[in-house]
Symmetry: C2
Subunit: 335 residues, 2 copies
DNA sequence: CTGAAAGCGCTAACAT
DNA sequence: ATGTTAGCGCTTTCAG
């Protein structure tokens, strides 16, 4: 790597002159600036990132900690984060907690020693079920800002980017009721998560608020993600009179649709289905699944903006931004 | 952040004593070591990463540049990379080229100035079609090692981790021939990529090597990924006598299966299908898709190992590691 | 307009 | 056993 010192020697000027010239300082004569820049370009000079960080106590890096990169929602948010951050000149250092509290804690500690200027986090399941928040607070005490998205800790005082999980689900469920569905089931493999609970509650609220709707709520919320497809198939066989399905997670809507088709259901005539996914699943379904779209790209972009604002400006109170969802009706719903 | 200097002042010793004590130097008396460590722990001292990097010219970071994080294969490799790297004490800085040569180039340049100790890369489509390799060579000249995986540049002299694309496809196609299939079509939306070509060639070779197989090859390789599902459906309608399908990319096997089922094909009795994906798609298909599994986790892990070996040891000749594939027969093939 | 010097936090060779 | 010093590459005040 070529350094300022080397440039200075070759040009027989001082290091500080070179530094100033490269920053277009008024102090330096136009000719010198030109000479310096020419040589810098010629030798492909690149300022050493570590030296600048050490000097400025700024890293221009963001630590991103997500629970599971194999989940398409998180991958999409990460995509947006990387895009927005890189356009703003920030690097992304990524850690995958794999739903483990310990890994999340370690990641926070490792990156907390001057590696990043702030964090964007979606909380691990274990962290959420055990309600751990001390590790977040200790980072915040070090003046490192945190933006939480999707899975947030209400008890931590930091910026947050979420969607209106409760309202989105309530609206979607109400749509099925208005279609005239009499027996609507909820599928969820994320019922232990904060967002999962909010979504279930939205479903329950919609049912209880409706005058026409008579049946009891039906919630299929148990079982691991791995064998949820078998639960769903068994459920459909056992409950042939269910005429509406709503999914609270990313995948079970798609699974329900494919299983229903296999079992001979006419979709949507006999059975309406709404998933909680985005467009990427469409190519895997025919008829195309109606979904609640949570706009992962907007979530990622907003998270970066809020974090960089806090890093660069000195803002004060924590804010929570709610990204709007859309109910996108395609071919698995009527109306 | 608490520094060595602060510890030194509180303990009324010099900075170097503190530094040595924390590194368990023989030079320092046991008592002093104890005192220093106690205070360090008490104040939660963390060595400043940037200072260490500047001093040692090592960052303990790896730059990972991948074309598309929304592709499940790349997400899975990244997952493995992060896991292996973090267990070895390395951070991952991620850049997404989004298949663009320019973004790939910029990422390489930005991280090339002392931000990382080496790179793991899968090449952008544009880079590959335009056959650009100078940016890789200029990084290598700076003594920064590169490991390429999956999509590699043959003309760049660096370590590589690949699968036997040609052989995997040849074997899978031969399997369909041995099942007695008479008209086997290849679906691919990646035919411009190096790996795509190798896979097509494997298919062609299997057909031409077979004595029993009489039909001409049929390759559906055009169209963008976005509307490939419609191409596939149209193809199936137009070619009802096709009795075998093999997919060279991640998604078209799944799409073909769902479209075939919708059109009333009996799978696998009438039509055998083999995809080029991994287990994650299984929950979306019924019958479960038979696939060529490329072991993304092994690819990621091997890439990290090779890179760190090269960073830490001083190895010489470039090596290419071939990760074995498996033909996993499930429910969309007979035998 | 240019340069010398200090310092970011750390390590390590070299005193004492 | 402990301290002093120099230096990694850069920015920035202060002097000339």
């Amino acid at each position: 790597m070529v350094t300022l010192k080397q440039l200075a020697e070759q040009l027989s000027v001082s290091v500080s002159t070179v530094s100033k010239a490269l920053h277009d300082s008024e102090e330096i004569s136009p000719e010198t600036v030109k000479r310096v820049k020419a040589l810098a370009k010629h030798l492909n000079y690149q300022p050493n990132k570590m030296a600048i960080s050490l000097k400025s106590s700024k890293t221009k890096s963001i630590g991103v900690i997500i629970p599971n990169i194999l989940n398409h929602f998180f991958a999409k948010v990460l995509f947006a984060i990387e895009k927005e951050a890189s356009s703003r000149g920030y690097d992304i250092i990524i850690c995958i907690s794999n739903e483990s509290f310990t890994k999340e804690l370690q990641s926070l500690e490792v990156l907390g020693n001057g590696s990043v200027d702030g964090f964007i986090i979606s909380i691990a399941e274990e962290t959420q079920t055990k309600n751990k928040i001390d590790h977040f607070n200790s980072i915040l005490q070090q003046q490192l800002p945190i933006v939480m998205f999707d899975r947030v800790a209400n008890d931590v005082d930091c910026d947050k980017v979420i969607i209106d999980d409760f309202g989105a689900m309530q609206k979607a469920t109400t749509h099925l009721i208005n279609e005239g569905r009499k027996k609507i089931a909820l599928f969820s493999n994320i019922d232990e998560l904060s967002v999962g609970k909010l979504r279930s509650d939205g479903y329950l609220k919609a049912l209880s608020d409706s005058k026409e709707y008579k049946n009891e709520p039906i919630m299929l919320t148990h079982g691991k993600e791995e064998d949820f497809d078998e639960y769903i198939e068994a459920f459909l066989i056992k409950n042939p009179d269910v005429d509406g399905i709503i999914s609270a997670d990313n995948t079970s809507g798609v699974i329900a649709l494919n299983k229903a088709l296999k079992l001979g259901y006419k979709v949507p005539q006999q059975l309406s289905i709404i998933g909680f996914s985005d467009e990427n699943v469409l190519k895997f379904t025919d008829p195309k699944l109606s979904t609640i779209s949570q706009h992962a790209l907007d979530i990622g972009k907003a998270s970066v903006k809020i974090l960089i604002d806090r890093i660069e400006k000195v803002t004060t109170v924590s804010k929570t931004k709610v990204i709007k969802t859309d109910l996108v009706l395609r071919q698995t719903t009527t109306h």
